[in-house]
């Protein structure tokens, strides 16, 4: 069972070229929850004087993680797309450290999923960023 979950997680990232390009690793998935780790990389730097990664890379991590949380909802949506996503940047991510995002799909209707996420570096006490978003729910064969 765990193996199947791990295979699913790997396939989820491998199916997304941009997630692969960022070296993302889906470390947890299920019941509307997802966790993704993104390693630090020189090409993600937004401020060359400090080595802090660009907010845009954090947005991508959040968006991917929120989408994964929607897809893992027990109702098993066929597909999802972001309707809107808000990111709040609490502080600069520490250069050289991976970012870990956790997203939770806390409510869903027939057609919309509501998701929130938080991202940390090695300091688990102080979030780097938080996100809230609304996502479409696409089901095969119309309304469920």
């Amino acid at each position: 069972m765990e193996d199947r979950k791990a295979t699913l997680a790997r396939q989820f990232i491998e199916a997304i070229p941009h997630a692969r390009a960022l070296g993302m690793d889906l470390t947890e998935l299920g019941e509307g929850l997802a966790e993704i780790v993104m390693p630090y990389a020189d090409h993600l730097v937004g401020d060359p004087s400090t080595g802090v990664i660009h907010g845009g890379a954090v947005s991508t991590l959040m968006d991917t993680c929120c989408g994964a949380a929607v897809m893992s909802h027990p109702s098993i949506p066929a597909a999802t797309a972001t309707i809107d996503l808000r990111i709040d940047y609490m502080r600069a991510a520490t250069p050289g450290q991976s970012l870990r995002a956790r997203a939770e799909c806390y409510h869903r209707t027939r057609s919309v999923a509501f998701v929130r996420a938080v991202a940390h570096d090695d300091d688990a006490e102080r979030p780097v960023a938080t996100a809230t978003g609304a996502f479409t729910i696409e089901t095969n064969g119309g309304a469920t």
């Binding site: 997304i16 941009h18 997630a19 390009a21 993600l44 401020d47 907010g55 309707i83 990111i87 940047y89």
Partner: protein, 168 residues
């Protein structure tokens, strides 16, 4: 008193382009995503050159929502940075060493909200930002992105930014 001779056009262009280049080319992530800027006077248009690595949904296919968000955020920050230094560039107050990679402190994002209107197609995308408020500490910026038709936006965003504290 005679009016001073205007500067030769190449000199003006060279100075403006050097300032823009300093904000854009020194940032690894902007280069990696393939974002460049077209300048007409003070008007900037960001260009996201299509690449296979930008895809988020290979079935459609569509550009990753995170790439769209990043593209809009880069456009907002560069436009804001550009508004911040424009007067100094025009007044020739910025020295070449102020414009080397990383020397210019750019605004920091406080929050950023992206509105996804349609899926991003696998082709180039364009964006322009409008600074709605530029205060000493805080700024509010709106950005619009499109692909084939300027009037058919595929995404828009609003963000708030903390301005760097600068001397003078």
């Amino acid at each position: 008193m005679p009016r001073p001779q205007p500067e030769p056009v190449q000199v003006v262009k060279q100075r403006r382009d050097a300032a823009l280049k300093a904000m854009v080319e020194g940032v690894p992530y902007v280069q990696w995503l393939g974002i460049s800027f077209d300048r007409r006077g003070d008007e900037l248009t960001a260009i996201l050159s299509y690449d296979e690595k930008l895809i988020g949904n290979p079935l459609l296919p569509a550009i990753h929502g995170g790439v769209t968000a990043a593209f809009l955020e880069v456009t907002a920050i560069v436009e804001l940075g550009w508004s911040m230094i424009w007067d100094e560039v025009e007044a020739k107050k910025l020295e070449p060493e102020d414009l080397t990679a990383g020397a210019l402190r750019l605004p920091k994002t406080i929050d950023f909200t992206v509105d996804y209107l349609r899926s991003g197609l696998p082709r180039d995308a364009y964006a322009r930002a409008r600074v709605n408020r530029l205060g000493r500490r805080y700024a509010s910026v709106h950005v619009e992105a499109w692909q084939d038709n300027r009037s058919r936006l595929f995404a828009q965003a609003t963000g708030h930014f903390l301005m760097p504290q600068r001397d003078g």
